[in-house]
Symmetry: C2
């Protein structure tokens, strides 16, 4: 199904020459009117130049967003900041707005000078190509993604549409991931922020591919207001549903990944400690390699849980893989064969009960494969 932006927003995707082979690498979103927005950004101290630009413009209505793939413009020093400002200035000239009304996002390799001339030359073509479909934009922002990622949910009489890209350096605290969410509901930036923050917390912040927090993670939400006011609860649910869809698509398309692993932690002292326990399992290279081999290696899960929280009472812990109880209240069950068979599925659920409280959380993660190592040893990403 072709997904379209809500009324008031258009986008495009073109090739400007950053990526080799003429692949699309420059996307723009335009708004007919000055539009309220909210953003959640990486907490990495090495945040990319475009992230710093967007943070500085939080709260100001905007008219356009320019996104390039193939280059993160991160750790590029003073030249990187200058490139962002120059991109905003060039885009503003084409769009007929002020540079401060233009947001910028970048994704790709770190530390390489952004080829500004290529972007500047392509901006008129990118703005001229805008239309209501999201696919050209969704394609232009991908890096090693193998599929585009979109989602749509209704919010009362309004709509919420999202587009994201993955695929590695994914452990958002706020992954490299970018997401752009637009609604035609009317919402000021206060409501947008109050809606987006918790949704990101429960979706994008609960996925991990390689436990590497990126320099460029950004989630944007825009409200064109064309459909009038939606009930905040309806809007909140739709935004969280869109974020959840996109987060799952990112993990499903994990670099080198073959298995989506849902890690459900229960019985934790708090939701926060459930998230920390889930993250520790998601980050374990040994457990992730076991998943690649369909090995129900619950010992590696327990080892990760015990390293993450030294106060865990192992005699109260239970672990199931793919519905098969392997460790119950501190005792192994020996049911390895059934679990190994169930792990041949591309979608595996791990359930861990920590036996100490009522805190719970679900995280999405992926396996660690030889293909991931191959992709990331190649020296080009």
């Amino acid at each position: 199904m072709a997904v379209r932006w809500p009324d008031g927003a258009l986008s495009s995707g073109v090739a400007c020459g950053i990526k080799s082979g003429g692949a699309p690498d420059l996307g723009v979103i335009t708004f007919e009117e000055a539009t309220a927005w909210a953003g959640v950004f990486t907490l990495n101290a090495a945040a990319a130049a475009p992230v710093i630009w967007c943070r500085e413009h939080l709260g100001e209505p905007i008219r356009a967003v320019v996104v390039n793939s193939g280059n993160a413009n991160a750790c590029t020093g003073a030249a990187g900041s200058k490139a962002v400002r120059a991109t905003a200035t060039s885009a503003a000239r084409v769009a007929g707005c002020a540079p401060d009304e233009v947001l910028i996002a970048s994704t790709g390799p770190i530390g390489i000078p952004l080829p500004m001339d290529a972007i500047r030359a392509a901006l008129p073509r990118a703005f001229a190509a805008t239309g209501p479909g999201v696919e050209p934009f969704a394609g232009a922002i991908t890096t090693t993604d193998t599929v585009i990622k979109t989602s749509y949910h209704a919010a009362g009489g309004a709509s919420v549409v999202g587009v994201a890209k993955g695929a590695a350096m994914i452990a958002p605290n706020m992954a490299t991931m970018l997401a752009f969410i637009a609604t035609d509901a009317a919402a000021d930036r206060g409501l947008l922020h109050a809606t987006l923050g918790p949704a990101v917390q429960r979706t994008f912040n609960r996925i991990s591919i390689d436990a590497c927090e990126s320099t460029n993670d950004s989630v944007f939400m825009f409200a064109t207001g064309r459909a009038g006011r939606a009930h905040p609860d309806d809007l909140g649910k739709a935004v969280e549903a869109v974020c959840g869809d996109l987060a799952e698509q990112i993990v499903q398309d994990a670099e080198g990944g073959t298995t989506l692993v849902r890690i459900r932690i229960g019985g934790a002292a708090s939701e926060e400690s459930a998230v920390a326990a889930g993250r520790a399992v998601a980050a374990s290279a040994l457990w992730r390699a076991a998943v690649a081999g369909a090995d129900p290696n619950w010992g590696r899960i327990l080892s990760a849980l015990g390293a993450a929280d030294r106060s865990v009472d192992i005699t109260r812990v239970s672990v199931s893989i793919a519905g098969v109880p392997l460790f119950v209240d501190g005792e192994p069950t020996g049911e390895l064969l059934a679990a190994a068979a169930a792990m041949e599925s591309p979608d595996v659920t791990v359930e861990c009960d920590l036996g100490s409280g009522t805190g719970s959380a679900e995280l999405l993660s992926a396996d660690l494969t030889e293909e991931y190592v191959r992709l990331n040893a190649e020296g080009t990403s």
Copy 2:
């Protein structure tokens, strides 16, 4: 050079049938007299049954140590604790001492019942085979290690001898690693503890292979006293030198590893934050995969530093790889070709200056290879 235990200590290594193919898997160390000792153990809440036993016996002089490889006896429930007690009792009978005078250590896969009968049957043979050489013992405690690991340093007129095993699940906070260090210097448990703790902190606790903290990490130190008193400074230096040698040998023999990476952090706010920054780089799957490909991907180092410490001022950070400055005071240098050539070495040094203080630390780590994933996806470890 054949390494021998200090006077007063003997050891052996035999095959008891835990490992397939008749490989040695049971080692014992015996002491002619009741001997003072100190131990530093994993902080993992899922600590193995033998670790719990040794912790309970800290402070009491001992007469023997029984070590098996091929089975960690971790997460094995009540049966695991019973197996430790039974091993100590059987060994005590053979050695003519009390069960409380026997320490136990295990290493291997987690969660599998320990084949007690095999160990019990082999103990008389193991005790009968003891001699002054360390090699048979060093071989019997290996898992996926490809070489045995031993070290010797003089401490004044006394000697310090150490034996260790690696090879994955290595991120000691206090790796699966076991180390046994003996001296013939006279030292009570207070001096031993005061000597061993800081040495472990600066050596074994500064290595990381896969950032997975094991359930079985244990470092033991024994003092037979046969050479009389050594100066505490001499003893401290020799123990730290032995621990440092063994730690480096463990990383050099990292599971699937092809490159030893020395991560030197300087300019940190404190030694503690330098260690944290170094650990973050050592743990980055993306950086470690880049090392496997001899890719001087300094951006992944910066990303790891910035995720670990959100207060880092990136404009004051500098990063060199193999002596080639790639990022200086917030600006990329573009010297990638020289760095890539230098990274073909099996021993690569990364220097990061955080520009915020005088704290420094050096950590040893390894690359992430397809072979590591293959080894750990096989379902047997």
